[in-house]
């Protein structure tokens, strides 16, 4: 993980700084594409001739859809890392599970917020209780909010790793429900089926959508990397604190007193010495 130019106690490296700059530049390009170069969704009714469509609200697509897909990816990575925690039991998997869960939860919250903002002009409501995908996404958010609450409890880290892994693996069972809800409960959702599968969008709109996947992919990659490094430093700080506390405690007592306390005699110490 440590790069040559990495300073101790920082989360930056040459690679991650470059990644951050590329992600930032991509966000600027995406902004230009989404707000200036692509047009609003305006269609003409074939019989009445009236204008209809999503108008400018369609631009939310470039934010909402990639975030939703990357949310799935983050939570699936979290699930894979949680399996790693249970099988390998090493801190690397645990820090990875924690990082991806945190980034995934932020994305899930943003998916709900951007969806709500988009829903106001298009569905004429901020929130639709009858929509299955909305409900299952909200439940997913609450499940991972619980996961993060568990991670903030102070307990034995090894025990917490296992607990968090189980919670994450139960929580990701909701993902197939979120993903397939539009197909399984077609009459109980306002969400549309994937327009990409049916190739209803094309040209610059399609390109911008694909570019938004790439951009947010870079952003999420950068965020996860940074969060992983922060998590790794947190672990190192805890280990360091425990190590120095043990050293301090030992320094309070002389070696002879320690030997006497654990019942080792001077002769035994002499025998043990080379």
């Amino acid at each position: 993980m440590a790069g040559r130019d990495e300073r101790p106690g920082t989360t930056g490296s040459r690679g991650s700084r470059l990644l951050g700059c590329v992600a930032l530049a991509s966000l600027v390009v995406l902004g230009v594409l989404a707000f200036f170069l692509t047009g609003p969704d305006v269609r003409i009714h074939p019989t009445t001739g009236e204008e209809f469509g999503q108008f400018d609200a369609v631009r939310m697509l470039y934010l909402h859809v990639p975030m939703a897909v990357l949310m799935y990816a983050s939570f699936m990575l979290c699930a894979a890392a949680s399996v790693g925690v249970l099988v390998k039991r090493t801190p690397w998997w645990d820090v990875m599970a924690h990082s991806t869960a945190e980034v995934g939860t932020v994305l899930c919250g943003l998916v709900l917020v951007t969806g709500s903002i988009w829903g106001r002009p298009v569905w004429n409501t901020w929130w639709e209780w009858g929509d299955v995908r909305l409900m299952t996404t909200l439940v997913l958010f609450l499940l991972f909010a619980g996961y993060l609450a568990l991670r903030r409890t102070t307990t034995d880290p090894r025990r917490q790793e296992r607990q968090a892994a189980v919670v994450a693996l139960v929580a990701v069972l909701d993902i197939p429900l979120v993903n397939r809800s539009v197909a399984w409960w077609e009459n109980r959702t306002l969400h549309q089926r994937s327009t990409l599968e049916e190739l209803k969008i094309e040209d610059l709109t399609l390109f911008t959508l694909m570019f938004s996947f790439l951009t947010f992919g870079l952003v999420v990659w950068w965020l996860t990397l940074q969060r992983f490094r922060v998590g790794w430093l947190e672990r190192a700080a805890i280990d360091h604190a425990v190590g120095s506390a043990i050293a301090d405690r030992r320094s309070e007592t002389s070696a002879d007193e320690l030997d006497a306390a654990i019942g080792v005699t001077d002769e035994q110490v002499g025998e043990a010495s080379p």
Partner: protein, 227 residues
């Protein structure tokens, strides 16, 4: 075959122990059930004791009362293992963790069934509901009870030993039980004739939830209680 019998025997041992403690301490009967009835009464006050409103929302209010009360029952079940090094003793006993889980979940399930029966009496008397399909009511009630007991026992074991388990358990458990709440409410809507829905389809969802909660709980319990 003998292994299955031994497994079930171990589970029965744990369930009988938990139920014996409950029978002697009467915490669920004396505190959790009255709490559930109190919640029903408070809903009545909050909705201004309008019979028609209460009948319309009876299923949802019933299951919210069950879930809130189940939190207390689960908390109690997990707390049993925390005193006098009981969990250490259980670890040393050689009982399979899955049998321990099934035993504890069974005890919680029995307590939930008692709770549901008393609450149903409350619905009939206080809210004036009528049972249209008793078979659907019983099947949905039992399946939802299994799902709540299994998920509750899993998360109870998970939160036990944490200093903040009283506040953490609801945050972890209630979102997991959201599908059970939805399915059980719709099934009861049909069974009580409140709303025209296909209650048996929702009962299918409850069966899937009960199965998943039981299997995941039995598999994960060992990981959670090991030290």
């Amino acid at each position: 075959m003998s292994e299955v019998r031994r497994f079930l025997g171990d589970a029965r041992l744990v369930a009988a122990r938990d139920l014996r403690i409950e029978f002697r301490s009467r915490v669920v009967v004396g505190q959790v059930v009255p709490f559930a009835l109190l919640v029903l009464v408070l809903f009545g006050f909050a909705l201004d004791a309008d019979h028609r409103t209460l009948r319309t929302f009876a299923s949802g209010l019933f299951w919210v009362a069950v879930l809130l009360s189940a939190l207390l029952a689960v908390h109690r079940s997990a707390a049993l293992e925390q005193s006098d090094g009981t969990l250490d003793a259980l670890r040393m006993s050689g009982l399979p963790p899955a049998a321990l889980f099934i035993g504890k979940a069974t005890a919680v399930f029995v307590q939930l069934v008692v709770l549901e029966v008393v609450l149903l009496g409350g619905l009939l008397v206080l809210y004036g509901v009528q049972v249209v399909d008793p078979v659907l009511l019983v099947v949905a009630g039992l399946l939802a009870g299994v799902a709540v007991a299994a998920a509750g026992t899993l998360y109870g074991a998970l939160a036990s030993g944490l200093g903040v388990r009283e506040t953490l358990l609801p945050i972890l458990l209630l979102p997991v039980l959201a599908p059970v709440l939805i399915g059980a409410t719709r099934a009861f809507d049909d069974a009580l004739g409140a709303v025209a829905v296909d209650g048996w389809a929702w009962t299918g969802l409850l069966a899937v939830a009960a199965l998943i909660a039981t299997v995941v709980g039995a598999l994960a319990h060992g990981v959670l209680i090991e030290d």
